[in-house]
Symmetry: C2
Subunit: 208 residues, 2 copies
Amino acid sequence: MVKHMDVPEETMQRMLAYLRELDCLWNEGKEKFSSQSLAKALHMNPAQIRKDFSYFGEFGTRGVGYATKQLIQELRAILNLDRTWRLALIGVGNIGSALLRNPELKRQGFEIVLAFDKDPRRIGNKIGPLTVEDVVNVKRRIREEKVQLAIIATPVECAQETADKLIQADIKGFLCFAPCHLSIPDEIRIVPIDIPMALGKLVYHMEV
Amino acid sequence: MVKHMDVPEETMQRMLAYLRELDCLWNEGKEKFSSQSLAKALHMNPAQIRKDFSYFGEFGTRGVGYATKQLIQELRAILNLDRTWRLALIGVGNIGSALLRNPELKRQGFEIVLAFDKDPRRIGNKIGPLTVEDVVNVKRRIREEKVQLAIIATPVECAQETADKLIQADIKGFLCFAPCHLSIPDEIRIVPIDIPMALGKLVYHMEV
DNA sequence: TCTTGTGAAACGCTTCACAGCA
DNA sequence: TGCTGTGAAGCGTTTCACAAGA
């Protein structure tokens, strides 16, 4: 199976959207689908879907379509979503604790196994099965628990230093909720979730 | 000033990133910058920045660069961020209440003025200055309060019906935290924030 | 000399259109 | 006949390279 090289980033993101939609179709009992039916549901061009799939292999049957269950498995494998990922969370404020309480993440294969904060009033608190630990121990604990991914949910002021600490702990990628640019080496992957920026995208298109 | 027509979506998103970075530069006391210095800070090509700006006008001085404060004002006006936007929040669970408690939003010009839920145990609760209202009154209250934008923070199961209700209430755009595709008319704008999908983007690039 | 603003070239993604199969 | 898989065309974005101006 082809992977990564020469696959546009846009294709990969759509693959995630296809998988999400296919999970729905499967739950609704739809055992097969065509590029046309999926395209209609997602408001897009069927050729786009076929082209996206074609980067990774041939999954359909000409004249018939695709088998939903089989495609779900293929997509999970392609996207590395056929296993459980262990995450560290840094910053147990509003957003951080919302993530800890969110059962959807575990259902999708993402388990937060470590939670850190720098505020002494939060250290030691239990949230679900986890105890909030002191952020000074990040490096040691992440290595002990063999965690590869992290979520930065600290205030902007601490985001860069947190990222630096995580990189020292050999974290290979993180999700960042702090609305600021972080300087990190090229080989580290960062996916930002910037809520004010998302609201900015929304209002740009509003007539005033 | 040119606006919207012929401006690539990518350009608009980068404009938001420029503004975010310029706010930082201004706070650090940097009164001017060049496309080169900004490009270096953001890890990008300076020609890209100049081209992006050029869609909206000429903001710099040849041989000199740009004035930080002036550019911040220009960008705010271009992006419709030179005013306060009033929002309704639907779903006061983990994520919803984290948003209500997040002071960053108001600082950036986004004020949540209405909060709704369908769970009787949450209706009537006070969070900060707001009281959680019954979602059955969404339409009336949104019109009374003249709110144009909404945040959907409900579970996936209620997301589509919530969107339908909001559209009936003449909401023109929304941010959606529910990780699912929503069917909405073309003229309504939706910006999704899908946390499991963001984690998916992250792990695709991990070697296993 | 330095940096902006911008046509034009280069590049990459999307869409088309049709051959290949069931 | 119906739908997939795909080379090639079409199209939009990025980057280059340089004229213009401080």
